[in-house]
C-alpha cells in the first residue's frame, strides 16, 4: 500500500527576489496565474510549467505522493522566485480526502487563480488485460480521482466567477488502441467529462482547459525510444501557459497532434481494428 502523509508547510518567502526576477522574460499582456494549485506537482510537465510562473512571483500549493520529491520541487520553485510555496503529501487515489485537501489549499493561497491537475499513471496495459483490478486502479487514478477534484474545483471557481481549471489528458483518449486502451479509455472519459463541465461553468467565467499532449520526454515515457515526435516538457509547458492566457478549451500539444489525431479518428473501424497501433 502507498504511504499517506499529510502535512502543510510553507517554504520561506522571497518577495524581493521575485521582484528582481520579474524582468527576466517579458510575457504577453494577458495575465499569468498568480495563485496556483497543482495536483501531481512532481510530474515533469507540471514542474516545467511551474518554472515558467515562479520567476513572476506566483504562489504555489503543491500536492504529490512522494514527500522527498515534492520537497525538492518546492525548493526549486522557491529558489526561482516563487512568492510562497505550500506542500502537502497525499495519495490522490483517496477521493474522500479531496475536499479537506482543497479547502486547505484555498485557505493557504487565499484565492486560487488556476488549478492544474497533472497526476496520472500510464499503467501496465498487458496486466490490465488479464486482471480487472489493475484496470480499475488505472481508472481510479486517471479518471475517478480527477473527476472528484475537478468537480470540487469547478464549483469553487464558478462560485467566485473566475479561475482556470487545467487538466492534463492525452491524445490517447482520442481513440482506443490495443497498446494502451485502458489508459486511453480513462482519458477519453475525462475528455467527455471536461467537455460537460466546460459547458456548465463557462457561463460563470470559468475556463476549463483540456490538455492533450502527444509523446513527451518524461519519466512516464522513459522506457520508450525517443523518436522525432517527442516533445520536451518545457515546450508543452509553454503551450499550456499560452492556452491559459488565451482562454482556449482544448489544447493539442505540440500542435501537430491535432492533425495526427484527426486522421487517426477518420480511419474506418473495419480498417482500424486490423491495424497494429
Amino acid at each position: 500500500m502507498r504511504r499517506r502523509r499529510s502535512q502543510t508547510e510553507s517554504l520561506e518567502e522571497r518577495p524581493n527576489e521575485a521582484r528582481a526576477a520579474r524582468t527576466d522574460r517579458p510575457r504577453s499582456k494577458q495575465t499569468m496565474p498568480k495563485t496556483v494549485l497543482v495536483l501531481g506537482a512532481t510530474s515533469a510537465i507540471a514542474q516545467a510549467w511551474m518554472r515558467l510562473l515562479a520567476p513572476q512571483g506566483a504562489s504555489f500549493f503543491l500536492v504529490a505522493r512522494n514527500a522527498t520529491h515534492l520537497d525538492s520541487v518546492g525548493k526549486d520553485l522557491a529558489t526561482r522566485g516563487a512568492a510562497a510555496v505550500y506542500v502537502e503529501t497525499i495519495d490522490l487515489d483517496e477521493t474522500t480526502a479531496h475536499a479537506g485537501l482543497l479547502e486547505r489549499a484555498v485557505d493557504a493561497l487565499g484565492d486560487v487563480d488556476c488549478a492544474l491537475i497533472a497526476h496520472g499513471v500510464l499503467g501496465d496495459q498487458a496486466a490490465g488485460e488479464r486482471d480487472f483490478a489493475v484496470a480499475a486502479a488505472s481508472l481510479q487514478t486517471n479518471f475517478l480521482s480527477t473527476v472528484s477534484l475537478a468537480t470540487w474545483l469547478a464549483n469553487y471557481f464558478a462560485a467566485q466567477y473566475h479561475g482556470s481549471l487545467v487538466v492534463i489528458s492525452s491524445v490517447a483518449g482520442d481513440r482506443g488502441r490495443k497498446s494502451n486502451y485502458i489508459y486511453g479509455s480513462a482519458k477519453a472519459g475525462l475528455n467527455a467529462f471536461l467537455d460537460g463541465v466546460r459547458n456548465r461553468v463557462d457561463r460563470e467565467g470559468v475556463q476549463v482547459l483540456t490538455v492533450r499532449p502527444g509523446f513527451v520526454a518524461t519519466p512516464m515515457t522513459a522506457h520508450l525510444s525517443r523518436g522525432p515526435l517527442f516533445a520536451t516538457p518545457d515546450a508543452v509547458a509553454r503551450d499550456i501557459l499560452h492556452a491559459i492566457e488565451h482562454r482556449r478549451d482544448v489544447l493539442y500539444t505540440p500542435w501537430f497532434w491535432r492533425w495526427i489525431m484527426a486522421m487517426v479518428r477518420m480511419i474506418p473501424e473495419w480498417k482500424f481494428k486490423k491495424m497494429d497501433l
Partner: protein, 440 residues
Amino acid sequence: MASKSKPPVFESWGRYPKLDVRLEPLFWTDEYPRGTRLPPSVLAVGMGRSYGDVCLLEGGTLLSTLGMDRLLHFETATGLLRCESGVTLDQILRFAVPRGWFLPVTPGTKYVTVGGAIANDVHGKNHHVAGSFGNHVPRFELVRSDGSRAICSADENPEMYHATIGGMGLTGLITWAEVMLRPIASRKIRYTAIKFSGIDDFLAISGSSRSECTMAWIDCISQGRAFARGIYMQGDYSEVMEPKKASPKPRLSVPFDFPSWALNRTSMRIFNELYYRKQLRRQVTGQIDYEPFFYPLDSVLHWNRIYGKRGFLQFQCVIPWRYGRDGILAILETIAESGMASFLAVLKVMGEIPSVGLMSFPQPGITLALDIALKPEVTFPLFERLAEMTRELGGRLYPAKDACMTGQHFRSFYPQWEQFAVYRDPAFTSAFWERVTADA
C-alpha cells in the same frame, strides 16, 4: 507508434570511441541505488561533453543525471547556490546573470552539468587567479552503490571530497552540490586582443597581463616565420552597473555530419590565415558580451559534426614551467610536421592555485589544447608520440579530453592513481578507467 527496443544513442563529444551504451535516466536524487535492477557496473553522465571515453561505459549502465535539474537554494547575500548535479552551467547562468551573479570558473562550453564539472574538475580562462571548478565547490552529496549517502566537504568526509573532485565520476553519484558564484555588474567584458608572432612574444605578453581571464588562439599549421603565431585574448568583467538579461537560446546548428574530407590541410590553413588576419591592428580593445568571450563555439549547436561521422580527438597537455617554452615549441613542431592540422588550438598559462582534487589535471605551467580529426593511421601514432613527449617534459594529459593514452602514460602522469583507486566505488567504472588500468 514509438518502438520499445532501440537504445538511445549516446556519444561523447569527440564521437570516438563508439561504444554500445545503455542509458538509464535519473529524475530524482533518491532514485539510485533504490530499485536495483541495474547491472553491477554504472557511471553517472551528464551532457557527455567530455571528448573521449571518461563518460562512456561498455556493457554497463550510464546513469543520465539530466533529469536532476532543480535549484535547491540560493543565498542572495553570498552567492552560494545549491543545486542538483544535472543542472547545466547554462541553466545556472540563466538563473544567476539577471540576479547579478556569474560562474566562478567556466570551461569553454556552458553545456556541461555541475556534476560533470566537478568530476573533471574543469578549468577556464581565469585559472591563474581562481583555480579550477572544484576550488569553488564547498560541499556536495555523494551516493555510493551500497546505498550510503554522505555529505562531502573539506571538513566532512574530506578524503572522499578530494577524491571525488577530479575523480572522473568513479567515486559514486553526486546528487547535489554547492557552487560559490561570483558577483558581476554587467554582462560585458572589457576585452583586449593582441597578436603575437611566436612563443616568446606570447610569454612576454602573458607575463605582463594583469587580466582576470586570459587565453590565446595559436596557429599550429603555418610554418617558417609564421610558426606559433596567434592572438592573445584577455578580459575583465566590466564594473559599470547595467541591467542583465538572460541569454537568448542559440539559433545556429550544424544539421548534419560533414564529409570527412571537408576539414583538410588546405581549408584549415585558409581558416587559420583568415583568423589571424581578420584583426588588422596588433592590438584591439573593446567591450563584448560574455557569450562570445567565454563560449564562442556554443553559438553553433552540434559543431562537432564538422569533423564528420568518424569524429575527432582532442589533445590537451600541461607542461610545467621548467620545460614550458621549449616543450610547447617541440610539441607544436611535432604536430605541424605530422601534417595533421587543427583549426582550434588554444594556449593558456595555468596558475599556482592548487586544485582540491586528488586526480585534478591542472598544474602550474602552460597548457595546450587542440582538436585533430580522426585518421586512425596518422592520428594514433601522433598522439602516442605527443603523450611520450609530455611525459618526458614532466607534464600530463587531461583525461576529460583523452580517448587513447596508454595505461602506462596515465599512471606516470597520475602516480597517485593507486591512492585514488581506494576511493573508487566498486560499482562505478568507465571505458577510460578500464582502458588505463587494464595492464596495471
